[in-house]
């Protein structure tokens, strides 16, 4: 072989090997990056998971950074401490159960698909190994555990409350109530991504059971947390359950509504005791019956913020009863 051909061949081989070797360093390797699907938005999930995406869209996870109620309470997120959980980077970025960090991108997506489903190595987490589908999810036992939710939901101690409950001992976790199994139109089974909770009246009504009785000159209210694996209500500051009563006198006059009891945890720097009802617990409150009253009207309200009245859309009527008085 002629010398110049040998030299050209040598140059090709040396250049090729050298270049490929150096490019094989993962950081900054555009070819590797191009071949590897990079997940950065929930929009990427919509095409294959339309029904799940529709469930999530409009959920309080999706609107967590948009919700006017939250924006008001956080002073439009000038309270920076709120941003981490309302616009979080993937949980796995810091680790299951660890505090999440805030992100800059996709503000409309709030707690997005990737917040829970993106693994630390950039792959997708799921309940089952599915190497055959586009996002090739792989199962991870920790992905289904309470620690996943804890990263955000223990900011206000909800998962601590769950750990102290019988639900934890029986292995009933967050997903069992807040992500029930659903059958989808395409025939598939899966966990609901609506995340029903404090904004869903049926979920709320399952949580508390109110027994009403008359004892001498008192109305007696016994509220039992029968359906929540955490306090009722849970979270701080924002949530309250009120037992309200008014009396109707013989001439039809109604006394003003008065609060028999408020179940609520005051905010961190707010005075007052925590009156939330732990899972399985019963609490009794009493209100003296007004002289001459013929009936008592009772209402139980769930308030998304304690500073609102009955007419506010942030108040949900859980129970309304009228009791004839002896």
């Amino acid at each position: 072989m002629k010398l110049w051909i040998r030299m050209v061949l040598l140059l090709v081989v040396a250049g090729g090997i050298g270049g490929l070797t150096l490019l094989a360093i993962p950081a900054g390797n555009p070819e590797v990056a191009a071949q590897t699907k990079h997940w950065e938005s929930s929009q990427q999930c919509q095409q294959c998971h339309a029904e799940v995406w529709d469930e999530w869209q409009g959920s309080h996870h999706q609107i967590s950074y948009l919700n006017p109620e939250v924006r008001k309470l956080s002073e439009d997120f000038r309270n920076k401490e709120c941003a981490a959980c309302h616009l979080p980077r993937p949980v796995t970025f810091t680790g299951y159960g660890e505090r999440v960090l805030p992100r800059l991108t996709n503000p409309d997506e709030g707690v997005s698909c990737l917040t829970c489903h993106l693994a630390a190595d950039g792959t997708i987490l799921g309940r089952h190994d599915r190497p055959d589908v586009a996002c090739a999810p792989h199962a991870d036992a920790d992905f289904l555990k309470v620690d996943m939710c804890q990263s955000c939901h223990n900011q206000h101690y909800t998962t601590d409350q769950w750990r102290a409950s019988t639900y934890a001992k029986e292995g009933v976790n967050c997903n069992d109530c807040h992500m029930p199994e659903v059958a989808r139109k395409d025939g598939s089974q899966g966990r609901s991504h609506v995340f029903s909770g404090a904004h869903d009246i049926d979920t709320l009504r399952r949580a508390g059971k109110l027994a009403i009785a008359v004892d001498g000159g008192d109305m007696v209210f016994k509220l039992t947390n029968v359906g929540a694996g955490h306090n009722f209500p849970t979270e701080e500051r924002h949530r309250a359950v009120d037992i309200m009563v008014r009396f109707v006198l013989a001439d039809g006059t109604q006394t003003p509504w008065q609060r028999s009891y408020r179940y609520r945890q005051p905010y961190r720097d707010e005075p007052g005791e925590n009156t939330q009802l732990p899972s399985g617990a019963t609490h009794e409150s009493r209100t003296p019956i007004v002289a001459g009253a013929k009936t008592a009207q009772i209402r139980m309200w769930y308030r998304l913020t304690p500073y609102v009245g009955d007419d506010d859309p942030l108040s949900t009527l859980l129970l309304e009863k009228e009791v004839e008085l002896p």
Binding site: I5, V8, L9, L11, V12, V13, A14, G15, G16, G18, G19, L20, T21, L22, L23, I25, A27, G28, N29, P30, A33, T36, H38, E40, S41, Y65, L66, R71, D76, F77, N79, K80, E81, C82, A84, C85, R89, F93, T94, R99, L101, R103, L104, T105, N106, P107, D108, N154, Q155, R268, D269
Partner: protein
């Protein structure tokens, strides 16, 4: 033969490209060397002033009630109680405790007296009060007291307050602050003039973290260091409220926190390292000298985004070369942070890359928005700024985020803190 020649060219190009990448990689800062910082902070925290015994605390609280709560005692008794309180060796503790009193008049009095008492370490509880205070008058007193103790972080509060019902109090305190800073005021300064003087003082403070005419104002006393260490020890907490309190407070102490922040940037504990970078970002140019401590953190996956933004905010020397490659990261979060950082940095060498990023139709909107933000900070590039405003008006991007970015551009360009 032709294919052989093509192969040759391809091979050489491949090698050249690889060498470019390799050169870039070799100039990257070394991975951060992480050390245990918590024990040191725990030790330094012991320098914080101790609280008096419980029975003394009760006495002091009672004295505060008598001295400051209206109608609690007659005028003569109230004056005696005030004198006793201020003469008490534990007056500082009593006044700092009174900053949390439910009566806003008590909080105002306590803040004023703490300013007079002159203990630098009271800046920490005063800064916390500044964060949470809802009463405009008490907020003015907290801001004014901070100015006396060495922090101008509350001056924007005073500037705003001169448009409110508490304008007179704010005006009088502003006059006092200007005089202490050596500013020669007109005989009867207008609110506009006072606001202008305060803005100048605030801009200077943002650049230097130093209050004019204050001896030793940029060196933390052992008590102040102790309290800063106490705050930093909260950064690894799970609950975000104390974390955010720390970010807020330490970012308003100018140079006082820099020595401990420098150490915390190297902390093994990830949240301590991470949130310290955020504090550095908030401090801005005051923390310029921490540039070399922040630089390695761009290679730390946990802190890369925040480190880039912090490097930009503090105008760190040599940062551009480390931030530019992040514009090509596979993670949009990193690209967005890099775009923002280049604008904050203000190095003209970064402008072409930022423009390219902004012009790239295939780039995600989030990153293009941050590139526009970065370009707008170069001031002359108004098209990017107008594009942002148009995007906002058309409702094509998350409005509160866009509002926040545009407000930030307006403030930074107006204050021109990079000069």
């Amino acid at each position: 033969m032709r294919s052989l020649a093509l192969l040759t060219v391809a091979g050489v190009m491949l090698a050249t490209t690889a060498c470019d990448e390799s050169t870039a990689a070799s100039s990257a800062p070394a991975a951060p060397k992480l050390v245990e910082v918590l024990p040191k902070l725990t030790e330094v925290a012991k320098q914080a002033p101790p609280a008096p015994a419980a029975d003394r605390q009760a006495q002091l609280k009672d004295l505060v009630e008598t001295a400051f709560v209206a109608g609690r005692a007659d005028g003569r008794l109230q004056e005696m109680a005030r004198k006793d309180l201020l003469d008490d060796p534990d007056a500082q503790w009593a006044l700092e405790d009174a900053l949390e009193h439910q009566d806003s008049a008590v909080r105002s009095n306590a803040a004023f007296q703490l300013g007079e008492l002159g203990k630098q370490c009271s800046l920490i509880p005063l800064a916390k009060r500044l964060k949470y205070e809802m009463d405009p008058e008490a907020k003015v007193w907290a801001a004014a007291a901070m100015a006396k103790l060495g922090s101008y972080a509350g001056l924007p509060t005073l500037i705003d307050a001169m448009n409110m019902t508490v304008a007179q109090t704010a005006g009088l305190q502003s006059i006092d602050i200007c005089k202490r800073a050596g500013i020669e005021l007109p005989d009867q300064p207008t609110y506009d003039e006072l606001r202008a003087f305060l803005r100048d003082l605030y801009r200077g403070w943002q650049r230097t973290g130093a209050v004019p005419n204050m001896k030793d104002g940029t060196t933390a006393t052992p008590q102040t260091e102790g309290r800063i260490a106490e705050r930093l020890l909260h950064l690894p907490d799970f609950q975000l409220r104390p974390v955010d309190d720390t970010r807020y407070i330490v970012a308003r102490l100018g140079q006082l926190g820099l020595p401990l922040l420098k150490e915390a940037l190297h902390a093994k504990q990830p949240y301590l390292r991470m949130h310290t970078v955020e504090i550095v970002y908030q401090l801005g140019p005051v923390a310029h000298d921490l540039g070399n401590d922040v630089l390695p953190l761009v290679t730390d996956e946990l802190t890369s985004c925040e480190a880039a933004r912090a490097l930009g905010a503090i105008h760190a020397d040599g940062a551009l070369a480390q931030i530019l490659p992040m514009l090509h990261a596979s993670d949009a979060e990193e690209r967005a942070a890099a775009a923002e950082a280049i604008g904050l940095l203000g190095d003209p060498g970064g402008k072409p890359a930022l423009q390219k990023c902004f012009d790239d139709p295939n780039e995600t909107l989030d990153v293009r928005v941050r590139a526009a933000y970065g370009l707008a900070l170069f001031e002359l590039d108004r098209p990017a700024y107008h594009w942002m405003r148009q995007l906002r008006n058309d409702g094509k991007y998350h409005r509160p985020t866009m509002d926040e970015l545009i407000d930030d551009i307006d403030t930074r360009v107006r204050d021109d803190s990079r000069k």
